[in-house]
């Protein structure tokens, strides 16, 4: 059996993305790509080949998921384990690497294998710099969600591994899904993003309606969700929030800290509105308007309406 590249994520959607990365890496290096699933096979995961690890139950805490993967890896010896860099995924990857004594690359793209070395790119310094990193194999690698397209290569090959009894010291007391209805910014075609230039929470509907006029959604920079609590955390675009890449990104009253840019720099077209002509956001924009957002936003909205 050829050496395997494993892909694991607790999220079915992210796992399909990881399968693209796994297939790319496997093809380049004569290995095979396997989707590793805990507990049961999930319909939303599309893969040619899968390994179902029994014993962890459905939706386990990261501590238990890590032990299940660790035991499976000790038995099956994959060359690489790709893990989706979700919040839980980062913990799983870190623990698996520590338990197996393997190196761990994070937030990797452009993966390649050269002999016994794994090479990848990753961004550092809030997206300002790309670093090329390498480590020996076997290795654990985390991959940013929404970076790779979802794989559609499907097949019927299913293998099973019984991890035995798995317990952890952390106990789950409750789990509640965040309110539905919250827009997934990662899928939005257009985003209007609000920053500290917005003076009052009551002014947000003005931006929301511009977003709707553009067929998109409303996001924000970190202060508006984390410090002021005007919008839920799901709206926070940036290094510690969501990473987005819409066709159109309109930054309104956002100064353009690198931490914010890190979350939106892959947008197709960026527009910025800010009163400060020296605001760094203009360096990261295609079109800038140096003016008061309270005059410009209604004007843009009106211009859009008259277009119809």
């Amino acid at each position: 059996m050829s050496e395997q590249v494993w892909a694991y994520s607790g999220s079915g959607e992210v796992q399909c993305e990881l399968m693209s990365a796994a297939l790319e890496l496997a093809e380049k290096s004569g290995r095979s790509a396997v989707a590793v699933e805990l507990g049961r096979q999930r319909e939303e995961v599309v893969a040619q080949s899968r390994l179902v690890v029994k014993g962890a139950g459905d939706d386990p805490l990261p501590e238990v998921a890590a032990e299940a993967l660790t035991r499976a890896a000790r038995s099956r010896h994959p060359s690489t384990i790709l893990v989706g860099a979700t919040r839980n995924g980062r913990e799983v990857a870190s623990r698996v690497a520590a338990r197996l004594g393997w190196p761990c690359l994070s937030e990797a793209s452009k993966l390649s294998i050269d002999g016994a070395q794994l090479q990848a790119n990753r961004t550092v310094f809030a997206g300002k710099v790309v670093a090329t990193v390498s480590c020996g194999l076997p290795a654990v690698v985390t991959i940013k969600p929404a970076f790779y397209p979802k794989s559609t290569a499907s097949g019927k090959e299913v293998d099973e591994f019984d991890a035995g009894e798995l317990t952890g010291v952390v106990k789950l007391l409750s789990r509640r899904k965040k309110e539905a209805g919250a827009v997934d910014l990662r899928k939005a075609k257009a985003i209007v993003s609000a920053g500290r230039g917005v003076k009052r929470k009551e002014d947000l509907p003005m931006l929301q309606s511009l977003a709707e006029e553009l067929g998109g959604a409303l996001g924000c920079s970190r202060p508006l969700s984390s410090d002021l609590g005007w919008l839920p955390e799901e709206c926070h675009i940036g290094l510690t929030g969501v990473t987005v890449k819409p066709d159109l990104y309109v930054a309104v009253g956002i100064s353009g800290q690198l931490q914010h840019i890190a979350g939106m720099k892959d947008s197709k077209v960026v527009v910025a509105v800010n009163t400060d002509k020296d605001a760094p956001i203009f360096q990261a924009s295609d079109y800038g308007i140096v003016a008061d957002l309270y005059q410009v936003v209604p004007a843009i909205k009106k211009a859009l309406e008259s277009r119809r």
Partner: protein, 254 residues
Amino acid sequence: MRIAVCVKHAIDETELKTGPGGRPVLEGAACKVSVFDKNAVEEALRMRSAQGGEVVAFTIGSEDARKSLKEALAMGADRGVLVVGAQASLDTGRTARTIAAAVKKEGAFDVVLCSEGSSDTYSGQVPPMLAEALGTAYVGYARKIQLEGGKAKVERLLEDSVEEVEAPMPVVVSVVSEINEPRYPTLIQIMQASKKPVQEIPESQLAVDPGSSPVAVLGMSVQTSSRKRVIIEGGPEDAAAKLIQELEKEGVLR
């Protein structure tokens, strides 16, 4: 209650210069405390107010890393530990094992606090790896922590859900910035911070396992922005009309 808090002396990305060949100039680059670590320090101080005890701040790096420790001390940490000779790098496993060795050397802690990730590399791997190296429980992405009866009850903030979990102490917890608002030290506190004890531990004394295969950095290049950077002039109406024209050409309007 003995509380350890980890702070990273991180390269200040806003001050980073580009050198020959588009490489970032890391030698002598300006550093500052990783901004998210202030939330971890704040939480440690709040725990100490509620439970009594001691807050010890840990960092690794060169002598310059004292600056980041000093920030934690100015906020209110009791003392600092600096592992000299080691460098926080993209080899997260090695970084975690180094911090773990220093924490162990300082004796038993009830809680070890970290932020979810650092402002410079943001891998988010050191906190769970630290717990693995210490052999303690770990809870990540906390937005609320309650300590009671040798246990930590933690609210975890995940992408699409919120979890409440309970972990036995000692425990390593990483916090998200939503957990609190870090305090600003007063001028007096900043001056007093210089008098607080900072212990230096040479990395060589810690006998850190280098790991089977280190993570190496082969190269770095500063990203150049390919944005058009067109400033649209005119009054609000004119500017808006011109903008719409441009966006129409770009094909990004529905």
